[in-house]
Structure formats: structure tokens, C-alpha cells
């Protein structure tokens, strides 16, 4: 089988399919923005894109490169503030309708994320940007998609720093800590798609892409993972790819070079 799409393209499409019509999509920039745009144009026309900086349903004539990009301030339903944006997610009436897209440097078997540092917190080998809104979103939002490159050093048994809570240590520990149900529910990588067991809270392989196998994915994962439920993902359709390429990022600013 000839694979006629790039890893970025299938990742975007897999994430876009998670977005339902009517969802309020919390978006960062880069590929998460593209997934939100693709969903709106393909399968969820009445979904709404919003940003932690306070813009709701902006008209994105150009792709924004930051969540504070002035491009998100144009033609919004309302321009508000950080406190308003986070309240929209903390508030259950609106927050329960939000789906969020996050990235991270590390993820553990329970979907907890690290965006803070590698090594000791006080004197790290590598320091990252920090939580930003990540911890808030993972605390408030029932469904979060995590975008990751699938590498052993990123899929780790234990995080160097737990920035954004997933299922914590599983088995209901998230709710016991005082958090609402939620956090990362899907992990989309360049190799496949992971979900979390409803009872144990542990990551399992849900879909492997055409051209990958469960074994290949396990080789790139730093912890044991259930792959017994895995099936092959339906590849991006021609329609999905056409809309993504022609209507979402024709300049390939985010998609990058063609396959």
C-alpha cells in the first residue's frame, strides 16, 4: 500500500475526527490549530475555536503563530481576558463542551504531562516553557487530545515533573485528588492513537496507522502498554486530505514539506 500522506497530515486528521459538531475547541498554535481548522471544515462545521488569551470564535484569515497573535483578535464573537477564558473551561456548563489540544515534552502511562523540565526541577538539564494554561486545561476539560512525537524518552514511566494532571496514578486517583473527570483522553502521535482504560486509567493502544504495527509502537514507548485492543486506523480519506491541503494550510506553513 502506498502511503500518500505525511505523518503530520494523518496526525491532524486523526485529531480532527475527535472533534464533534458543537464542540468548543481550546486550541494552541501549530498542528493543534490546524486540527481545529480541519475539523471545522470537514466534520464539525459548528465547532468553535477559542484561545486561552480570551478570543472566542475568531475569523482566522491567516494562521496564527502564537495564542497571543493579533490574528486571533479579528472578527471574534468577543475579545476578553485570560481570567474569562479559563473561567469558560472551569465553568461546567461551558467547560463540559470543551475539547482541548495540548502538547508536551513527556507523557506517562496515566496521561499526565510534563512541559516544565528534564532533570531536577531546581537545576534542570533542560528547562521548558512551563505550564502556561496546560495544567488548567488538563484540570478542567473532560476531553484533551495530546499531540506527541512517539519516542521512548517522551513516553516515560515517571515524569520528571508533573505539570498537567491526567489520571494521576490511575484507579480513580484523579477524582480522589479533587479534580473533575477529564484530562488527556487521546494521545495522537506519528505512529498511532492511544486512549485510557476507563477503570485503571492506563494508556492503551487504540489505533495504529497504516504502515505501523503495535510492536513498532511498543518499541517507541518507554513503558508497558496494552495493545490487545488495537486495530488499524482508517486512513485519511481523499476528501479529508483535499480539504486539509487546499482549504486549511495551502501554503503548508504548518504541514511542512509534502510526502
Amino acid at each position: 500500500m502506498k502511503i500518500s500522506y505525511t505523518p503530520k497530515e494523518i496526525m491532524t486528521i486523526m485529531a480532527a475526527r475527535e472533534i464533534k459538531n458543537g464542540d468548543i475547541v481550546f486550541s494552541g498554535t501549530g498542528i493543534s490549530m490546524l486540527a481545529a481548522m480541519a475539523a471545522k471544515k470537514i466534520n464539525a462545521p459548528d465547532s468553535v475555536i477559542f484561545f486561552e488569551t480570551g478570543a472566542m470564535d475568531s475569523l482566522l484569515e491567516e494562521i496564527p503563530f502564537a495564542v497571543a497573535d493579533p490574528r486571533i483578535m479579528y472578527w471574534a464573537a468577543a475579545n476578553s481576558s485570560l481570567t474569562d477564558a479559563f473561567a469558560t473551561m472551569q465553568n461546567r456548563i461551558t467547560g463540559d463542551r470543551v475539547i482541548a489540544i495540548l502538547g508536551a515534552a513527556q507523557i506517562d502511562p496515566y496521561g499526565n504531562l510534563n512541559t516544565t523540565c528534564i532533570g531536577d526541577y531546581y537545576s534542570p538539564d533542560v528547562r521548558f516553557s512551563g505550564s502556561g494554561g496546560g495544567c488548567d486545561v488538563a484540570s478542567f476539560v473532560p476531553r484533551c487530545i495530546a499531540f506527541m512525537q512517539h519516542e521512548k524518552r517522551k513516553f516515560v514511566k515517571k515524569l520528571d515533573y508533573l505539570t498537567s494532571p491526567g489520571q494521576l496514578t490511575g484507579n480513580g486517583s484523579r477524582e480522589a485528588a479533587g479534580l473533575r473527570p477529564g484530562g488527556v483522553s487521546v494521545v495522537v502521535t506519528n505512529l498511532g492513537m492511544m486512549r485510557f482504560d476507563a477503570h485503571t486509567g492506563k494508556m492503551y493502544l487504540d489505533r495504529y496507522y497504516p504502515g505501523t504495527t503495535p510492536d513498532m509502537i511498543l518499541e517507541h514507548t518507554g513503558f508497558a502498554m496494552d495493545v490487545s485492543r488495537a486495530v488499524q486506523a482508517a486512513p485519511p480519506t481523499d476528501t479529508e486530505l483535499k480539504i486539509l491541503r487546499e482549504n486549511c494550510d495551502p501554503q503548508r506553513l504548518i504541514l511542512g514539506p509534502v510526502a
Binding site: 493579533p70 512551563g130 495544567c135 479534580l179
Partner: protein, 325 residues
Amino acid sequence: MNNQLDKTMPLREAIRRYVKNGAHISIGGFTLNRNPMAAVYEIIRQKITDLHLYAHSNGTGLDELIGAGCIAKLEIAYGGNGKAAPTCIRFARAIQNNEILFEDYSNYMMSLRFMAGAMGVPFLPTLSGMGSDMLTTWGFSESMRLSDPKIVNKKLAVVDNPFGNWGGAKKVVAVPAINPDVTIIHVQQADIMGTCRIKGLTFADVEQAKASRHVIVTCENLVEKAVLRENPDMNQIPFIHVSAVCHVPFGGYPTAVYGHYDYDAQYLKQFAAAARDENAFTAYQDRFIFGVDNHEQFLKQVGKDRLEAVAADPRTGYSVNMKRD
């Protein structure tokens, strides 16, 4: 901070008067948008040190201040600067090299902390962060906290909901109020008394300003009082909160100021490149900060071409089709 009719003064004077060595400060804006950059450069030029900076997500200004060694202590949610530097470079180095004391929060926590300060309550509750290392890992030690009355005794606290399970939450995270000595913001319009109009997103500027003992406002346009009074609904900060007003066109450059100019992707890239190398960084600072006397001269050093390239399109408020990578 006062009701004087005319609070205008040169930026140099405002910084000299309100930003003392060791001051607890905050700056407005978000990553690459509406940072009070003219004020940031003036702080660096005046070699003010030992500052305690409260930041939610101030990329550009943050990294300049840290790079120049002005910051001793930092409370922060996010140090990134868009495509040019997903993690702020001098910020990461300063932490990796143990050059500053720092403490991590989430963005909402920091915004709420300013909001608590603005509201005059000791803390606000949130349902964010339980189970995260933000709760358990303090950047400032207990003994440091107890020895400095300007630092709260605990980083965060989990408290029981006094109303049982009301609101579906048995406990909440209490985040302590911040009241900076001075907050500096850059806005599109202000009058001489200090009433401000921000266009586009306000980020946490309003909360930061209202939480502060003093507020320095730099503005693109210093407008007649009547311009603001004709539409009070669009003004977010009334003059009673403001200590100084400085008219500084392009005072947010190289960050974006909605309706006026875009961020300068080229400048930010050049900064990021320089920030990675000590010699290059010194050369950068000598050229753009210490080699000029004030923001007007800085803008001359930047050059007309750059300023024209980022000029905002009047319809969209940003520079359409600008080269950004």
C-alpha cells in the same frame, strides 16, 4: 495611584521614580503581544537589578529582562515567545545555570493571583492543579518566605469547600494574591490623567494594573480626555489606578500592538539567535539597548523598513501577508 490631573512624564523619569532596585514588578502583555518593551529597555538601560518579577506569559519582555540580569526572583506560568523561541532562551539558561530563583504556576493561577490582588482579597479559589507538582514543589523555601514579608508564607494551599460538595467540589486550590509595587503596561490610548483604552485582548493587564501600588502606562496615542469619555464602555482602567503616563509611540515594538503594528518576527528571530551565544548577546544589547539613549533612538537603530513592514492593516489590525518565518 492618584487623581492628579496631569501624570505625563518622560519614560526615563517614570522608571527612575517607581522601579527601584529590588522592587516587585509585573509587566503587561502576553508572549509577543503588547509587552511594554520601551519600558523594559529603559529598565535595562538604567541597570536596575534584583527585581522580583510576577509573570503569567510575558515572553519578549521577560527574556530581555532576564537576559540583562535585572531579575533575581521570578514567579511565572510560561516563558515562551512563539515560533522564534518556544521556550524563552535566556529564561531557560538562567534556570539551568541557577542564576535566578523561580517558582512555577499555571497561567490561570497567576491570572487569578493578580485578580485577587485587584479585588483586595487574600486569595481566590480554583479547581486547577490538584495532583500536579505545582502544588508540592516550591521554588522559594519556607525560610526565605518567612524572612521576607513581601512573599506569602505558602506557595499554594488546598482547602476544604466550606459548603460541602456544593459546586461539585469537595476541595479547592487557594492561590494567594499578588500586589506588585509597580505594574507597567502598554496601551493603545491613554489621556494625561491615566485613563486607558486597550484594543483587542486585554490578557491580564487590567487585573495586574488594579493589583498594583503604582502603575506606569506607556501609550501609542496620548489622546484628549474627550476621546475616551465619549465611550466609557471601551475604557478598562480608570485614572485612579495610574501613577505615570508616558507617551511612547511604538512602545510595544518588537511585540504586536493590535490596530497599530504586528510583532516583528525578524527582530524576535534575531534576538533568539543572539540569546543563544554570550558574545552575540552582548553585541545585541550594546547595539539596541545600551548603544541608544531612549526608545526613539532604538527605533532609529531598528530602522524605518522594519517599522513599515509591521504596520497594521486598518481592517484586520495586523500586518497582512507579512513574512513571519
